[in-house]
Symmetry: D2
Subunit: 154 residues, 4 copies
């Protein structure tokens, strides 16, 4: 038995372009840096205040990783649903460190684009089309190796 639920639901903007890499097994993994912010008026001073929270999002879900890589960029507004996971690592001083991430595992999680600001736009970020390693002149839609109609959930 587990009877557990572990779910994070975020809506925010990407602070930079998605970062893609491949696992040792060759699977695509995409990292997002996502900002959420809340603002309020300080009761004491009357000042308007804002707090921005930064979230690390890691996408192992294959279909959603492709969407993120190809259609998101710096500034994109997204809905993300995943699980909280705290990862232990060792820093350069040999000290144990912990990092908490929102993880979209295989066949799990959700990712939905909430604005039209995608990697296909002419924008301040490089287009996502050629961002896949090894995508040469013969690239493009058919070079992706998958059918857009199947893969894009938005």
């Amino acid at each position: 038995m587990a009877g557990s639920v572990n779910k994070a639901i975020l809506i925010g903007h990407l602070g930079r372009d998605p970062e893609s890499r491949n696992s040792q097994g060759g699977d695509l993994i995409v990292n997002l840096s996502l900002a959420t912010s809340e603002s309020w008026k300080d009761k004491a001073t009357g000042e308007r205040k804002e707090r921005t929270e930064w979230h690390r999002v890691v996408i192992f879900n294959e279909a959603l990783a492709k969407v993120a890589r190809d259609y998101l960029r710096k500034g994109s507004k997204v809905y993300v649903e995943g699980a909280l996971q705290t990862r232990k690592w060792t820093d350069q001083q040999g000290q144990e460190r912990y990092t908490t991430e929102v993880v979209l595992q295989r066949f799990r999680g959700e990712l939905t684009l909430l604005d039209g600001k995608t990697g296909d736009d002419t924008g301040r970020s490089a287009p996502r089309e050629n961002s896949a390693p090894g995508a040469g002149p013969g690239g493009g839609a058919s070079g992706r190796g998958y059918d857009l109609d199947d893969e894009i959930p938005f």
Copy 2:
């Protein structure tokens, strides 16, 4: 503008009794250590595997902090809803560290007890009744300083 959402939804068990303290302003703050777990069968080896994730929960919401202090204990099963917040601190070596917590701010968040295992039970943990600092022999319900009917959401 914000247009942001920052929400964590957890169902799990407390790994130890809630820890209560007071802010400099005298407000009650309660910390929970909450475990969620998922299990699956390894495709390759056929082994049953389990991964437990530990979450730090911090309750600033006054009514919910009292509920947590008085009615939860080690082993309690709870539903928790809060916001993700990453806090920076400095360790003893003077190094910057980060800790991510699920925070229930004033008037925000939710906490619901999902089993009957509360601090009022005769259990392996000390009853919650006397856990408030300074609660002497004359303590008990009326010593709480609040009306149970008003405060307990479950």
Copy 3:
């Protein structure tokens, strides 16, 4: 004890302008008609299909009702969080009917505007400024009777 959770989370677009009314006690109540849609490719025919779901949202939460009345209009994209509630009513034939709504009760629920398409825009819908019943020529911001800085969460 209850140990219950009843929560609906929706992101979609308004099918028409918000509808405002007042309760017998004078409280503002706002109704939204919200569409969510999902699309997929039919495995058999290869056709692209889409299903739109319409949700009735009822806002009793005072601050959020004002936001909805003043800042949303037909086409606005919103995040809504409320509770499911099924209401019984009697139709003109004297038959019992049931309607399920997503309800934001007093001090409960969430509403976040996800695009810039508000009632202040020059758009196809009438501006929200003067939509409050009885708002005359002397209306406007100060006529609202509340401080925008306090009330608007986005």
Copy 4:
């Protein structure tokens, strides 16, 4: 593009045993009747009040439908996550009616048992073991046609 989210999250108790049937295509479909309740103290009268809300849950997700059929019964406490869907039907007077349900589609939704009150217990409800239509003396675990270790997520 859709950019939609349609999600209901419920924790409550079953009002009766799950009801199983098969689609024309032979797929298992399970219906649950789920109660959530909230209680509060009436400010005016001081009375304690409670409101129970009943939800119709329909499970098309194959693995979760089997879990529901075999492990849930009247009184079981469950976490359910699905999408809101309103279905039109015609009553015996030929009148159009609408019913809103929480639907767990194929490969979608979540279902988690939150207590130990399952169909395997000796309880007031008939055990789920033999509830599948046509399950004869040769039934039981192996007769289920699936591996418990694979199917049961809790």
